[in-house]
């Protein structure tokens, strides 16, 4: 096992007080937390700092760590001969069952100090009868708008944390089958109790948390349960008004574009958005058609002539307000 100098990692002296260690952790956590850090290797450093704090903040674990002796960081080492008896149970205790110092100390937390390992049984770990609940799975599901609208069955290939028989945390590949109910929307979170990782020693299974993300749709943009559709119209349609067909999730619908319509105006189709999951209140969001006036770029000679005539006779001044 390679030695890690937890005091050096937390940038404190070996005789630092609990308060100093806490302060040091808070400062370094703020510095390296991936959510707010600007440092490179932030995630790695954050993990390192967290592991050091987990051991040094607990008086008993800190004492056990101190008794390991002092070595160079990265040096292969063994604890003094009686370390296992005092802190781990058995000769070298569970020491030989771990390849990582952090894991060793993390496992010393289960079931209390000195009781994690059954005497005479190396590396008893949590099989000493301390039931532990399974890990929660947090998974992201990317689904299409149509799948969200009608509900769907998903098979998700995920990498999830799981505890093995000796309580060690590993990441494993799994395929999870989940049913997403109709009416889920972008950013919605779902919880499926008991569908997380299996419990250890008879502990209950963890839960599955599903974050729904909608895949971008070629036509619609989504805002909560409302849909937005760009509705392009020709200049004469905007001026004279028009009856146009628009696609909705359940078929085409005719809408009236009023004479004198402007770009950016919204036409609301009530209830034609994403369905809502609950019974009461609005059954579905709305579909908003947002007008966009598009101009033809390829004109026949006759069209060009007509446009030129229009330009000559029209008294319309779009920039009158410029003064």
């Amino acid at each position: 096992m390679k030695y890690k100098d937890y005091y050096a990692i937390l940038e404190v002296e070996r005789n630092a007080s609990e308060a100093d260690i806490k302060k040091a952790y808070r400062r370094l956590a703020r510095k390296y937390h991936p959510d707010v850090s600007k440092e490179k290797n932030a995630e790695e450093r954050f993990k390192e700092v967290g592991e050091a704090y987990e051991t040094l903040k607990d008086a008993e674990k800190r004492s056990a760590y101190d008794q390991l002796g002092r070595f160079r960081p990265g040096e292969d080492f063994r604890p003094p001969p009686d370390w296992g008896t005092r802190f781990g149970g058995g000769s070298a205790g569970g020491f030989d069952n771990f390849v990582d110092l952090g894991e060793l100390f993390a496992n010393l937390s289960q079931g209390g100090f000195g009781r994690s390992f059954r005497p005479g049984r190396p590396g008893g770990g949590t099989s000493g009868g301390f039931a532990k609940p399974g890990e929660d799975y947090e998974v992201n599901a990317h689904i299409s708008l149509e799948e969200a609208a009608r509900g769907t069955e998903l098979a998700l290939d995920v990498s999830v944390p799981e505890r093995d028989a000796s309580g060690r945390l590993r990441r494993v590949q799994k395929t999870l089958r989940v049913r997403v109910p109709r009416g889920a929307s972008d950013g919605q979170r779902l919880r499926v109790p008991g569908k997380g990782g299996p419990g250890v020693s008879g502990g209950p299974p963890g839960d599955l948390y599903l974050d729904i993300t909608l895949k971008p749709h070629p036509l619609y943009r989504v805002s909560d349960h409302d849909l937005y559709l760009e509705l392009p119209v020709a200049p004469w349609e905007a001026v004279r008004g028009a009856e146009v067909e628009v696609p909705t999730l359940d078929g085409k619908v005719r809408v009236s574009v009023k004479p004198g319509s402007r770009a950016g105006q919204k036409l609301r189709l009530s209830g034609k958005g994403l369905p809502r999951p609950h019974g009461g209140g609005a059954k579905a969001g709305d579909l908003y058609c947002v007008l966009q006036i598009v101009t033809p770029t390829v004109l026949s000679d006759r069209e060009k002539t007509l446009y030129e005539e229009l330009a000559k006779i029209s008294r319309f001044d779009p920039r009158g307000h410029f003064g």
């Binding site: 956590a29 109790p193 937005y228 950016g264 966009q292």
Partner: protein
């Protein structure tokens, strides 16, 4: 057969559900309730909260583990995170109204 829960503002859950799902101690959850972190729902003797509270509670547990924050600081951080989420939603809504270049 365990049922799927939608963690939104419309479904309600009990305090015990928040405790179980977050890994926080009951006293910690109660302290966060006092800081107004969880949205109570409905009148009545048994306090119920919006199911979205489970999301907030799990975030609180992570903030505590990652940053070693106390309840007051957690409540503050959660308030800021909620504000960021609300702003992101608003940005997504406004992006829907921006006409694409055809």
């Amino acid at each position: 057969m365990t049922e799927l829960q939608i963690l939104d503002a419309e479904t309600s859950v009990a305090l015990e559900d928040i405790v179980a799902a977050s890994g926080l101690a009951r006293e910690e959850v109660i302290e966060l309730v006092e800081y107004g972190v969880f949205q109570p729902m409905g009148a009545g003797h048994a306090k119920r909260f919006a199911a979205y509270s489970i999301v907030a509670a799990r975030r609180a547990a992570r903030l505590r583990a990652d940053f070693d924050l106390d309840a007051a600081a957690i409540a503050l951080a959660l308030a800021y995170l909620e504000r960021i989420e609300a702003l992101e939603r608003r940005v997504r809504e406004l992006e829907c109204l921006v006409l694409r270049d055809v």
